[in-house]
């Protein structure tokens, strides 16, 4: 019995590869498994080659995993285009469509998989559904048959999808599925038992979503009532879900004419007293940065989600990278500290988005959430989130007494000044991007400027004590350390497990608070550390360097940073650790 299985499939446009992946993960979720699904596309806008990779498990999984257990090629040209996403090892079982006319010993892949089978996928599709468009359904039948999973969910999915297309089409697709199941039962691909273990007895029906959708839901949960943005891959789904849902909660979503207008409208919403959000990706972030400074200066709460993609410039819009950390931390003129949070998985996108609103509102500051294409677009089956444990913070309003002689930017003990909004009697004030006195009056006085910068900076100091925004994992006394963030963190956890299982003591620190740097948390962590790696998906080692601006790190701590759109694998990190 396996309790973990990784399947990858690729095909041409029109083969329905992605929809097969979606059907499969939905069916597995209904079976109460844990699963993660990632999809990859060629550069075409629509209809080009595509692939999916799915990892299913009886336990929570932290990453999409590495080598495939089952590789499915509907044709070899397209499969090879996804070579890096769909790695094959000596343990992989490879199946492909016999219509390719290639003999199993001649398939065009490097290395030697465990077994290779040529299977008449297209033939079965045409025989049953009278169309080669049902190839994906045949493949679902094969998977279901071999591994004993997902049958009822897939059949229901087929019924939902094809009922409206008429009885004949529906029957054809049902037949295609059962043809696959039949073939699988008659032609086992393994001599051993490859069945997937049953879900745990106490497994519950979980949630199935991706990082963008759950981000939008988190915003509504946190009380967001204004979204202004502009479409950009891979962030648009945040705007799209909000534009469907936010009205129900008396909110507004506006698709503006560009990203500057998007963030400007959100700052307007915040000035008007509403929790406001904008979401974008690399090029949009670059455009928005002047307004981030305005929000810092005018002390207006604002949440910005950056779904990172390959950069600079247009870069690789559809692929993930963690290369916008410097930008998130530093893109500002003037002396600016702006909190930056990074979620580590789909569930954490919820937590970090709510946290971002809380920090933004409480401290009256812009907050950046650094998501990435991997988190945004991967579908994950996640356990229910106990939303009752979340506290929702709101901006501090002036009291009646304070309104009698209201001073908007009053110097206070915690450097946070109660904030009014238009419509609030006696709270009238001038918000400004220009430096101002406590009342909001413009000033060019150097002394006041220095005091105000200190106020805006110091009010954020308590955030640096938030050790709850860090995960420490592994052997607490280990001399070897891993540090990783964002979507790489799950892989680093697996690497940490591999090392400890192999008797190499390793500990892992995952900062979800990227900035300001929590010096004391790092100093504590580094106490036992002699050497280690900072693992991140960028070329420059951006987190590594930002940590070192504020903390003296052990000499043996090195960056393990890698550009390119393919995520790290746990074994790869483990190997690198061993070589330290």
């Amino acid at each position: 019995m396996n309790n973990n299985l990784i399947i990858g499939m690729a095909g041409a446009g029109g083969d329905g590869v992605v929809s097969a992946g979606d059907s499969l993960i939905t069916a597995l979720a209904l079976d109460k498994y844990h699963a993660i699904l990632t999809k990859s596309f060629g550069p075409q806008i629509r209809g080009g080659e595509s692939s999916f990779k799915l990892r299913v498990s009886t336990k929570q999984v932290r990453s999409i995993g590495e080598h495939l257990d089952l590789a499915i090629a509907l044709n070899w040209d397209d499969f090879l285009k996804f070579g890096a996403e769909l790695p094959i090892s000596e343990k992989t079982i490879v199946i492909y469509d016999s219509n390719t006319g290639i003999e199993p010993e001649n398939i065009p892949i490097k290395g030697k998989p465990a077994r290779v089978f040529s299977i008449p996928i297209e033939e079965m599709a045409i025989k049953t559904a009278k169309t080669n468009r049902a190839k994906n359904v045949v493949v679902l039948g094969l998977i279901s048959g071999w591994y004993g999973i997902a049958e009822s969910g897939i059949i229901t999915g087929i019924r939902n999808k094809f009922t409206k297309k008429g009885a004949e089409v529906l029957k054809g697709n049902e037949d295609a599925f059962y043809e696959g199941v039949r073939y699988a039962k008659e032609n086992p691909i393994s001599s051993g038992d490859i069945k997937l273990a049953q879900p745990l007895a106490d497994a519950k029906l979980k949630l199935l979503t991706d990082g963008n959708d759950i981000c939008a839901a988190a915003a509504i949960f946190a009380g967001c009532e204004f979204f202004g943005g502009y479409p950009i891959t891979p962030s648009s789904e945040i705007m799209q879900l909000l534009s469907r849902e936010i009205w129900k909660y008396s909110g507004v979503t506006v698709q503006m004419e560009d990203e500057i207008a998007g963030v400007a409208s959100a700052v307007g919403g915040s000035f008007a007293g509403k929790k406001s959000l904008t979401a974008t990706s690399g090029p949009g972030m670059s455009l928005k940065s002047e307004i981030f400074g305005l929000a810092t200066m005018a002390e207006l709460p604002l949440v910005i989600v950056n779904v990172q993609r390959g950069g600079p410039s247009t870069g690789i819009p559809t692929k993930s990278e963690q290369s916008d950390l410097f930008q998130a931390v530093f893109s500002a003129h003037g002396d600016v500290v702006r909190p930056v949070l990074a979620p580590i998985d789909v569930e954490d996108v919820f937590t970090m988005t709510v946290e971002a609103f809380n920090i933004a509102e409480y401290y009256q500051t812009p907050v950046i959430v650094l998501s990435d294409a991997e988190l945004a677009q991967r579908k994950e089956v996640i356990d229910d989130i106990d939303v009752s444990k979340f506290k929702i913070l709101n901006r501090k309003k002036p009291t009646e007494a304070e309104l009698e002689n209201y001073v908007r930017f009053k110097f206070t003990d915690d450097n946070i000044s109660p904030i009014s909004h238009p419509g609030m009697p006696k709270g009238n004030y001038l918000a400004a991007g220009i430096e101002h006195t406590e009342t909001g009056a413009p000033t060019s006085g150097g002394e006041m400027h220095a005091k105000m910068i200190e106020k805006r900076t110091k009010k954020l100091d308590p955030i640096k004590k938030r050790s709850d925004l860090f995960i420490t994992y592994g052997d607490a006394k280990a001399e070897i350390a891993l540090i990783s963030w964002g979507s790489c963190a799950g892989v680093a956890m697996e690497a940490c497990d591999l090392a400890n299982e192999a008797g190499i003591k390793v500990k892992l620190l995952i900062p979800k608070l990227i900035y300001p740097i929590a010096e004391s948390v790092y100093n504590d962590f580094f106490k036992s550390v002699k050497k280690g790696l900072v693992v991140e998906q960028n070329y420059l080692g951006q987190l590594f360097h930002v940590i070192r601006m504020f903390v003296s790190t052990p000499d043996g701590l090195k960056p393990f940073s890698k550009a390119g759109s393919n995520p790290f694998g746990a074994i790869e990190i483990f190997e690198k650790l061993k070589a330290l």
Partner: protein, 294 residues
């Protein structure tokens, strides 16, 4: 609003801040006309939001007792959209300059016109960049010599009246502090208009402007639309008048859509009203991700 019935006088809208403008700047007159218009409208200062960009003209919000937001150069319009859609009960006024509104912020103008929120857009058009000390502006006449065009500008001017009319603005007017009473009246009408309203204000820059554009000079070629019996519902005629921008100063309302229909803010309110009943409790929001066997 409960406060709408209270009586206000012009000075209720005047703040304690002393304007930093050069003596004689046209913006003083605009400010006075604004105070008067706001007193006529009678809404409490706390229900007004004044949004501006950067420029001499963009200082206006600070000189009013209303809520103000003196933001960054060129972005007052999208900020105002966020303010108005977040709280449609507010009266939202944008103060801008020819550079702020039609150069750096020019790209926002068509889009806010398309949306038609109930916002009033005032541009203090002085044909020059005042704050940055006299560079050419998008409304400067061709040939104008400035510090950035020492041999004379080689570009045609933007025509703010034609620009806004042709993008479909439902209220377009022009005024000047050379006619204070007229200007106050125009501002009042613009603020009352239930949709996006644009007022181009020929507010002279006494420091960097041309003699002909000063209050005294303006009087030579001002034309009062009311006295001309201009029909404000005639868009074709309004466009014809707009074409004379730069040659004459027509004061008054060029165009007012007689059937303006619902504004963007009205539509938003309607959608929110209709959608309310479909909301699930926020603590159940994640149920939308529960896989279901339909």
């Amino acid at each position: 609003m409960s406060t709408a019935t209270t009586e206000f006088v012009a000075k209720d809208f005047k703040s304690d801040l002393k304007p930093i403008w050069c003596p004689g700047c046209g913006d003083f007159g605009v400010l006075t006309a604004l105070y008067r218009a706001l007193a006529e409208i009678g809404k409490a200062p706390h229900d007004l939001a004044f949004i501006s960009g950067i420029g001499c003209s963009s200082r206006i919000p600070g000189y009013s007792t209303a809520y103000g937001f003196n933001a960054v150069h060129g972005r007052a319009l999208p900020i105002s959209l966020g303010v108005k859609t977040s709280n449609p009960d507010l009266t939202v006024i944008v103060a801008s300059g020819d550079g702020d509104g039609f150069s750096i912020g020019g790209g926002h103008v068509p889009h806010i016109i398309r949306k038609n929120p109930d916002i009033t857009f005032l541009v203090m058009d002085n044909f020059i960049y005042g704050l940055t000390k006299g560079q050419v502006s998008p409304t400067s006449g061709k040939g104008l010599k400035t510090v950035s065009t020492p041999y004379g500008s080689m570009e045609e001017r933007v025509n703010p009246l034609l620009y806004t009319l042709s993008y479909g603005a439902k209220f377009v007017a022009q005024g000047t502090p050379a006619d204070m009473k007229g200007l106050a009246k125009i501002l009042e009408e613009a603020i009352r208009f239930p949709g996006f309203a644009f007022v181009n204000i020929q507010s002279p820059c006494v420091t960097y402007g041309e003699e002909r554009d000063m209050i005294k000079g303006q009087k030579e070629y001002m034309k009062n639309l009311e006295e001309m019996n201009h029909d404000t519902s005639n868009k074709a005629k309004a466009i014809e008048i707009a074409l004379e921008y730069g040659d004459s100063i027509h004061t008054g309302i060029l165009y007012r859509d007689p059937n303006p229909g619902p504004s963007y803010t009205d539509l938003i309110k309607n959608l929110q009203e209709e959608s309310k009943s479909k909301a699930v409790a926020k603590d159940k929001i994640l149920e939308m991700f529960r896989p279901r066997l339909k």
